[in-house]
């Protein structure tokens, strides 16, 4: 592994010859704000390949959140097509969207979003529970993932008994539990001090090294320098999309 540090750029592991994990075609999202029609996204075309490690950058109000909601299948585009693993999710019902989220996506949020009444292992198990994985099996997976993020000794702790960095690591383990196609991280280090933050980013680097596809949404330019591919959003459009240190 390369030395960690914000200036070190990673070589992209994306396989651009493979079928894209995510493909957006002319995606638009419109909102009605009072009497005005607001176009939060104005025709996004985007391909994300397996093994991609991407930062989506942009100032607030540029459509970042909308982008995340659509990529995360929490919301559906007004216009356009969105293929996730070859499936057009723009046409799915609410229940099917839930299944897609549960099977193919992993979420990491700025404010960790752990469930307070559950312990570390139980939080990691939540996505598996909704997939109908049996308790015995999901417990094994959850314990293994907890160990992987360095929380093997805190399996039965409640989120309130953990530091911010530890909580975020639980959230990462949770996002990994269903072995998703894509992991979406929304300002994952926004609430953390620089030490914990860089620990989390180190875990992301490691995950990408293992071949995971990661999309980080951030407004932090320094963080963006870490990822081989950077996408800049500007007023609901892709302003800039490049592999900084790619060899392809």
């Amino acid at each position: 592994m390369l030395e960690s540090g914000s200036t070190v750029k990673l070589r992209s592991r994306a396989d651009q010859n493979a079928d894209p994990v995510i493909e957006l075609r002319g995606v638009e999202k419109h909102y009605l704000m009072g009497d005005f029609l607001v176009k939060a996204l104005k025709g996004i075309d985007l391909k994300i390949f397996p093994g991609d490690y991407i930062s989506i950058l942009g100032p607030s109000g540029c459509g970042k959140s909308t982008m995340l909601n659509i990529l995360g299948c929490l919301d559906q585009p007004t216009v356009g097509e969105y293929f996730l693993d070859g499936v057009d999710v723009a046409q799915l019902t609410d229940d099917d969207l839930s299944s897609v989220r549960g099977k193919k996506l992993g979420f990491i949020f700025q404010s960790y979003n752990l469930i307070q009444q559950l312990s570390v292992v139980e939080n990691i198990e939540v996505p598996l529970y909704y997939q109908g994985v049996h308790e015995d099996e999901s417990r094994v997976i959850a314990v293994e993932l907890a160990k992987k993020v360095g929380l093997g000794k805190r399996l039965d702790h409640k989120p309130t008994e953990l530091s911010g960095g530890q909580q975020q690591r639980v959230a990462i383990a949770r996002a990994l539990s269903n072995d998703p196609s894509v992991i979406l991280a929304d300002e994952a280090t926004g609430n953390l001090d620089s030490k914990s933050g860089s620990d989390i980013l180190q875990i992301f680097d490691d995950l990408n090294a293992e071949g995971k596809t990661l999309i980080m949404i951030t407004h932090d330019e320094e963080m963006a320098k870490r990822t081989p591919r950077v996408i800049r959003l500007k007023d609901g459009e892709i302003g800039y999309d490049t592999y900084l240190h790619g060899d392809k």
Binding site: S99, R101, N113, Q116, Q117, L118, G132, V133
Partner: protein
């Protein structure tokens, strides 16, 4: 992931949901407890009110049954509207009440009347050797014990021959015999009233109604209640005449009462009510004033049953209202919980929960809350009647269906009042729910 049998899956989900529900409720112990209290008291009040009501009506019915459901009881009552006249002419003899003529007519004309028991009472001191007690001599017939369902404890009852012969024999109640002959065998002893002597031939059990009353007063039977001496009615007439003289607190009163009480037995329970009507007609014709009282135990029994029905409806409505209030309390708290846990709902939706998963989760929580309230309520509801029986000495009857019904209602209320909050939780937009602070 792995393939699991669907049935197993639902069971496992149910188990997990119940555990999760308990955990979520446990986070707010006091709030959950207070919410469940509404149901606890609702259920407890249903069970204990039913038990107390059932016990009270059972007691009433038992007392009525002791009077005999096929009997019609007639009593002489001093007419109220003649008392003003009686005050001016105190020395005059006051004549009222049932007569032999009434009985003869009833026996002759009312269909189904099999036996009649006429009784006449004289209240005065009874002497047995050196002991005396304020008691009553009851002149009656040989078949009195069978009609009144009273057992002979010792010796025998007087018979029809003794009635015909106007023999001076008597039967004492248990408490009277204990008072007059505390150490001796009463059989063969003599009892004196005024200037007449009677030979004791037997001991009869106390009147159950009097016995129950004196038990409440913890054995203070000094009042003369239950101090009864039964003698043949013919003997009574011979010895004491037709006019009763009373010397009480300085004043003098004379009454002429032929019969104090008449009990008529009807052979068929279905003919009791028509017979009662016929007897009523005869008495109305024979008596200018209402100087009698008719009691029909069967009628009382029916009335008691009707009263019990009304009582049950009233209790049922009160219980329903209290459970409704409890249900509204649950709904209120669940709505607050849903709002409070909006973010959790958003997280779960993001992690793959379908709408129905969220509905299920919150519904389970409400049912746990109301079910736990129901269990506590049943426990309390079973305890309260026990306490009431113990401290107030009332009979309480818990019917097996009452706790079952109350618990069932509490769970149903949980489901009914949980549906709206659960659907409200499930219908949240995941994006907005995640952004909720």
């Amino acid at each position: 992931m792995s393939a699991t049998l669907p049935r197993e899956l639902t069971l496992f989900r149910l188990k997990r949901s119940v555990i999760l529900g308990i955990k979520s409720l446990w986070m707010h112990k006091l709030r959950s407890l207070l919410t469940a209290l509404g149901i606890v008291f609702g259920v407890a009040s249903v069970i204990s009110m039913l038990a107390i009501g059932e016990g009270a009506s059972y007691e009433a019915q038992q007392q009525i049954k002791e009077l005999g459901s096929q009997n019609i009881i007639l009593e002489s009552v001093k007419p109220t509207n003649t008392t003003t006249a009686g005050e001016q002419e105190r020395s005059l003899i006051l004549e009222y009440g049932l007569t032999y003529r009434d009985i003869a007519q009833i026996q002759a004309t009312v269909p189904g009347v099999t036996v009649t028991v006429p009784t006449r009472e004289i209240k005065d001191f009874l002497w047995g050797g050196p002991n005396s007690v304020d008691g009553v001599a009851i002149g009656t017939v040989a078949w009195f014990p069978t009609m009144k369902n009273r057992d002979i404890v010792r010796g025998r009852y007087f018979n029809e021959i003794e009635m015909k012969d106007r023999s001076p024999v008597c039967v004492l109640t248990e408490s009277l015999s204990r008072k007059l002959f505390p150490l001796k065998d009463p059989i063969g002893q003599t009892v004196r009233m005024q200037t007449s002597y009677f030979r004791v031939v037997g001991v009869i059990e106390d009147d159950p109604a009097v016995a129950a009353a004196s038990e409440d007063l913890k054995g203070s039977s000094e009042s003369g209640e239950g101090m009864e001496m039964m003698i043949p009615i013919s003997t009574l007439e011979d010895h004491f005449g037709e006019v009763l003289f009373k010397y009480r607190s300085g004043s003098f009163e004379a009454e002429k009462v032929e019969l104090h009480e008449v009990t008529a037995r009807i052979d068929d329970p279905d003919r009791v009510m028509p017979a009662a009507l016929a007897i009523q007609h005869i008495l109305e014709r024979n008596h200018k004033e209402v100087d009698y009282k008719m009691t029909v135990p069967l009628d009382l029994l029916r009335r008691a049953e009707r009263t019990k029905q009304i009582f049950n409806i009233v209790l049922g409505s009160i219980a329903a209202i209290s459970l409704l209030v409890g249900g509204i309390g649950i709904m209120n708290i669940m709505l607050a919980t849903v709002t409070e846990r909006t973010r959790e709902i958003g997280i779960r939706r993001a992690l793959g929960a379908k709408k129905k998963d969220i509905v299920f989760q919150f519904l389970i929580e409400t049912v746990i809350l109301s079910g736990a309230g129901g269990v506590l309520g049943v426990a309390l509801g079973l305890g309260v009647p026990l306490m009431v029986s113990y401290f107030a000495g009332m009979v309480t009857i818990i019917q097996f269906w009452a706790p079952t019904l109350a618990f069932g209602i509490s769970v149903t209320i949980g489901i009914l009042f949980g549906i709206y909050p659960a659907f409200r939780a499930a219908d949240m937009n995941p994006v907005e729910a995640l952004r909720h602070e």
